[in-house]
Symmetry: C2
Subunit: 377 residues, 2 copies
């Protein structure tokens, strides 16, 4: 998954310190795969996955819309050339003054999951469209979602009716099947719920039009994942089954699925050591860890593919850890990672499929280490 | 624990957005408490706990030395006025070129826990003093340490002998009893081990002189913790018991114990909502969370005291979460936090004892949110 362009860049530029390199060609291919797989859905790229200006500009040019989590992300999307009508303020937790500012900037599509958030939007962004996020079970996802976002479907019905009565357009529902979702059927269950919300509100005289299918489209790490096309088919089938020939407007919010596979982190082996003469595993310490951008190794949730310059020979299990003086800064320990027995201090290592949720996750200066450098090529 | 100075600062300055305010008077008191409790130990402040220049300058002026985790922290300590002989490079995981640079800057005291690290120091910082970190069990600590740092005591003996034979001064041993250690007896067990290492090497003709007692001194969060004076007594007793009248030179590395209680984070309630009509708990969303500086709520390890403007009346359990679109950004859910039933959206909340391990832990820009602002007064 390290493209030739990334290899050449690293070989020629030899950047000092850990860094992420993102290949825009892969982002373009991914965008095109999404449009082919779901031709009737609008794509709202989840900016939080990687807000690099080059990525946003490319996607804006390709026609993408943008799902944003904060005012800063809205400003980044605007700066990349997206008109305000291509931006949704997709965070269900917003300060009223931030909603007002987004409204001033022209944003008219907002996420909610509570009465209280509807009230803020009614005051600060009157006439805007809202979609209400419903809770789903997240079954089958590698990075399961908690109950933090969304509300029970029965409550979503009341929240949307409340919006309708408050001078806000009750546009539809959203859900998120869980990040890195490998079960294409997960959307089926969520769409059944969405259709119920549509029907109940129709009976009350409120016509919903929008289903936000969320993200969750996976990146290939160590295991194969279904193709984007197969997700598209499953989703289209489920939409037809639950909405018949009155298909709603749909949007998708790929983040990881758009950029995860487009990036590679270059890191250096700082130390290889054992804890005692009998220690069966080596500890391999890198110059990047949990606080330098690899936060998604939390609970060893995501297991990135790793390439070394000594691949092909014998391997042995290693505990992989970061460079900080924090004992929580360990990447893989519960399930040690097999790495070449010939690995040496000073070797460069490539951590693949790291284009999403790395740069912005990096800490400001924990232990004095600089945040992750990024190059978008 | 919110001092009058912090209250006045917040009332007069009314800073926008979440921020940390650190009261230097409390840092000064803490420093003095450490020197009184352990008058024969040198204090090496763990810069990683909070590297704010004002804190480093104050401590340098008071006579403190500095435990650093990286070149950047060494440079910060030097800039604060500490001479290089008051700085230890306490990370056991260092690039050889960083060791060389530290040596150029005058640093002559280094941590090791492996043969490989000794070799780097022998090449890049010849003649320096090293201490070898030994593994301890961390029993009784709220933030237990993994096996990431240190090696078995038997191996530490070999590592120090290897240093001695490589042109490096085998100075002694270090250990870390675990952060937020509430059992004053934890140092007793570690010192017994240290004394064994001293004796074994003495038999081989190598005289160790230094015991680095590490950190682990707790901050008072919700539960009472032993006083610094009682730690001092326990440590002095254990030293006398295990080293008799040939007491080694000792150093301590307080970080959390020096600055944790000196800081308060001001945050704002962004949303209060329930997930369904029957939901027994409220979800309270703040404008700071796990990625904005409160990383130590990971696994709900540290439970900060929280003050609201509505304290004193009825309380009810809340799930406390941060503002990002990340479902892992939840502070307290397993054990909900009791907060006033009258709490309202827009209320200011004070999160106390947050002076350590907050600002530098904050992510660069996750979800577009700015890192934690800090004011040192």
């Amino acid at each position: 998954m390290t493209t030739d362009r990334i290899r050449s860049f690293l070989a020629e530029r030899r950047p000092e310190g850990p860094c992420l390199v993102v290949d825009l060609d892969v982002v373009r291919e991914n965008y095109n795969a999404f449009t082919r797989a779901l031709p009737d859905s609008r794509i709202f790229y989840a900016v939080k996955a990687n807000p690099a200006p080059e990525i946003l500009s490319l996607l804006a040019e390709l026609g993408s819309s943008f799902d944003t989590a904060s005012l800063t992300e809205i400003e980044l999307a605007l700066a990349a050339g997206a008109a305000a009508d291509r931006i949704s303020y997709g965070n269900t937790i917003k300060k009223e003054r931030d909603i007002a500012r987004a409204y001033e900037l022209g944003v008219r599509l907002f996420a909610v999951d509570s009465f209280e958030e509807v009230d803020k939007i009614a005051r600060a962004a009157p006439g805007s469209r809202v979609f209400c996020r419903v809770l789903t079970d997240g079954e089958g996802a590698e990075w399961p979602l908690s109950r933090k976002f969304g509300c029970a479907p029965e409550m979503a019905i009341e929240v949307l009716e409340h919006a309708h009565r408050s001078g806000v357009v009750a546009a539809g529902v959203s859900f998120h099947v869980g990040s890195q979702q490998r079960d294409t059927g997960a959307w089926e269950r969520a769409l059944a719920t969405a259709a119920t919300v549509f029907r109940t509100l129709a009976e009350r005289g409120i016509t919903l039009t929008l289903v936000n299918l969320g993200g969750g489209f996976p990146t290939r790490y160590l295991r194969d994942v279904p193709t984007v096309a197969s997700y598209g088919e499953s989703i289209f089938d489920a939409l037809s089954r639950h909405f018949g020939n009155r298909l709603p407007e749909t949007i998708i919010e790929p983040g990881r699925g758009m950029v995860g596979g487009a990036g590679v982190i270059k890191t250096e082996v700082v130390l290889i050591a054992r804890k005692s003469a009998e220690d069966p595993v080596r500890w391999v310490y890198l110059d990047i860890g949990k606080f330098g951008g690899l936060a998604e190794t939390m609970d060893e949730a995501i297991r990135y593919p790793i390439r070394t310059q000594r691949d092909g020979g014998e391997v042995a299990p290693c505990i992989l850890a970061g460079p900080t003086c924090d004992s929580a800064d360990v990447l893989y320990e519960r399930e040690p990672y097999p790495l070449p027995t010939g690995l040496e201090i000073g070797d460069e290592i490539l951590i693949e499929a790291t284009g999403a949720y790395t740069t912005t996750y990096a800490s400001v200066a924990f232990n004095g280490f600089a945040p992750l450098q990024a190059y978008v090529i």
